[in-house]
């Protein structure tokens, strides 16, 4: 079966024409995933029973001459920090190695209802903390485009699954770039919706004011189809927004594209820069107005991110105490000792580093200098974006490189700060809660790179439509 060239549309056509059954296709995906994850390490578990049961249901429907719709029969993978009932959800951590999800995340419920076939749970940086998927307690994930390099992170397993054609789509979570950066490194589409567009119920929390679930896919259309299934307000997540608030552009005329000069300065790989600039020129040829803009506060985005995210992490991860679930240190002198030992052994280096950083910036005497300061600078960054989209410039989309370089070598970034800097172009949209997608934009030294399209808050549909326009240029 030609899984490589399969899209949702072509899959549905093939199923109707009975070129293959949904069960056959699902078996092929599962077999390929099981075989190749031995090398890539992108799956923590395949959900075979669930997948084949769902596939049989789809075959039954089609044999009753019902045409497949939405995600019916579409094989998808789910990041292991998102709950699929009765399957393990480790979040890449030892502390949750035996945790079995008691219920479905809202997004998983929606996937199942739409007829999607969940084929497995994907590897990730522990608790989604990292930019390379080297931080998982279950081993490093490799990039399918070059096995010596990282797939990006933290949703590296999901990105690799789509790039290696184990499935047509996948769910990831993005807190500071964890969908967009791996999408860029693996040469696929990865979309982070506006904060509040997708329910976080059943997503193992990292930094709650930033976390957002979103889709990976091989093209813009499929990305949009998956997003349309998982979006929407949810009584189980009070931060979701009623989608009636969305302000879509009715037509794509006289649109203005902003190019923020701060994203093209020092640190950007020269060849990546040339590729992105040539893509922007092609967009200009389509008649879009290109305007250089400035977002001066962007320089501070990563510093703000590495205060706010760890602060929220230190609070959210206090739940891993060895009492309610997960790894337990066993016999201890007293309760305090039990907590300290459980967390020392159950949590990895990067997670402990961020918990301690967060504890420090929230501790007495430092809270004003760090946490409160960061919340104020976050307000400035959000306002700077607002001014660009609704001020006199009236910019419709902002275009930037997704990452400063293509995928780096496994083991290359040993210094935590150097790793953090790989999110320098993705963290700003997260802080401002804006929709942003990474779309493939050619290759540098045979490695894929991504163009990031950022839209105004809740203008998610337009961002996806523009991604499609860009996709068709090439």
């Amino acid at each position: 079966m030609d899984l490589k060239n399969l899209t949702i549309e072509s899959l549905h056509k093939s199923l109707v024409k009975k070129e293959f059954s949904c069960v056959e296709m699902t078996r092929d995906c599962l077999n390929k995933a099981k075989k190749e994850t031995k090398e890539l390490n992108n799956f923590l578990e395949t959900t075979e029973k669930l997948a084949l049961e769902q596939a049989q249901k789809i075959d039954d429907k089609i044999s009753q001459r019902e045409k497949p719709k939405e995600l019916e029969g579409v094989p998808v993978a789910v990041k292991d920090n998102i709950l699929v009932q009765d399957y393990k959800a480790t979040a890449g951590s030892k502390v949750l190695e035996n945790y079995i999800a008691p219920y479905d995340a809202t997004v998983v419920k929606k996937l199942k209802k739409s007829g999607a076939i969940i084929i497995g749970k994907t590897n990730l940086d522990e608790f989604a903390m990292g930019s390379s998927t080297e931080n998982s307690a279950y081993g490093v994930v490799k990039n399918p485009k070059d096995l010596t390099r990282v797939p990006g992170g933290s949703s590296g397993g999901s990105a690799a699954a789509v790039a290696a054609n184990h499935c047509l789509g996948a769910l990831g979570s993005d807190t500071g770039g964890s969908i967009r950066q791996p999408a860029a490194f693996c040469g696929i589409f990865g979309f982070k919706p506006s904060y509040g567009m997708v329910s976080r119920y059943g997503l193992i929390a990292m930094a709650s004011s930033l976390d957002q679930i979103g889709p990976f896919a091989k093209n813009a259309e499929d990305t949009k189809t998956i997003f349309n299934v998982i979006r929407g307000d949810d009584v189980m997540d009070a931060t979701t927004i009623d989608t009636k608030h969305k302000n879509n552009k009715s037509k794509f005329e006289n649109l203005k594209i902003g190019i923020p000069k701060e994203f093209f300065g020092e640190g950007l790989n020269k060849e990546v820069k040339e590729k992105i600039e040539s893509a922007i020129n092609k967009i200009a040829e389509l008649g879009f107005e290109i305007k250089e803009i400035s977002l001066p506060s962007i320089e501070y985005a990563l510093a703000v991110y590495y205060i706010i995210a760890p602060a929220e992490i230190s609070a959210n991860l206090s739940r891993y105490d060895g009492i309610k679930y997960g790894y337990s240190a066993g016999k201890s002198q007293n309760l305090l000792d039990y907590y300290c030992k459980t967390r020392a052994k159950g949590l990895g280096d990067e997670v402990r580093r961020r918990i301690m950083l967060g504890t420090y910036v929230l501790s007495a005497g430092y809270r004003d200098a760090y946490y409160n300061k960061a919340q104020k600078v976050r307000a400035i960054i959000a306002q700077d974006f607002k001014n660009i989209f609704s001020g006199e410039d009236e910019i419709d989309f902002i275009l930037t490189p997704t990452t400063p370089t293509p995928a780096f070598k496994i083991g290359e970034k040993k210094d935590p700060l150097a790793m953090y800097l790989s999110d320098v172009y993705t963290a700003p949209a997260s802080l401002a809660g804006l929709p942003a997608i990474s779309v493939p934009c050619g290759e540098v030294d045979n490695l894929p790179i991504g163009l990031q399209i950022i839209g105004a808050q809740f203008d998610d549909d337009s961002v996806l439509d523009f991604a499609r326009i860009f996709e068709q240029i090439k």
Binding site: P102, Y103, Y300, Y325, S328, Q375
Partner: protein, 96 residues
């Protein structure tokens, strides 16, 4: 610069036991991250109000009522506990 003693204090607040070697490692790493973060001091925020979220939502209230869940959700939740007695989580002794 964060000292080894400060790392010890933070680790205690965060309920994480560290080895001597880890204390030294984290002192260096956390210091380098905090040096980077210090660039925020250059931003004038005297007229800015801090925000803790980005969508301007106000309080979201709901009725205080039990939502009907699958019957076995409670059992599944309890099953994940490392130690339990009946329908309760078992906690190490707090008072001697």
């Amino acid at each position: 610069m964060i000292s080894k003693e400060q790392v010890e204090h933070i680790a205690k607040l965060a309920r994480i036991e560290l080895t001597e070697k880890e204390k030294e490692k984290f002192a260096i790493e956390l210091s380098s991250i905090l040096d980077y973060i210090d660039k925020l001091n250059k931003v004038d925020t005297s007229k800015v109000k801090a925000i803790s979220q980005i969508t301007d939502l106000k309080n979201i209230f709901r009725e205080d009522e039990v939502r009907v869940k699958e019957k076995d959700t409670r059992d599944k939740i309890l099953k994940n506990a490392p130690s339990k007695k009946g329908d309760y989580f078992k906690v190490p002794k707090i008072l001697e």
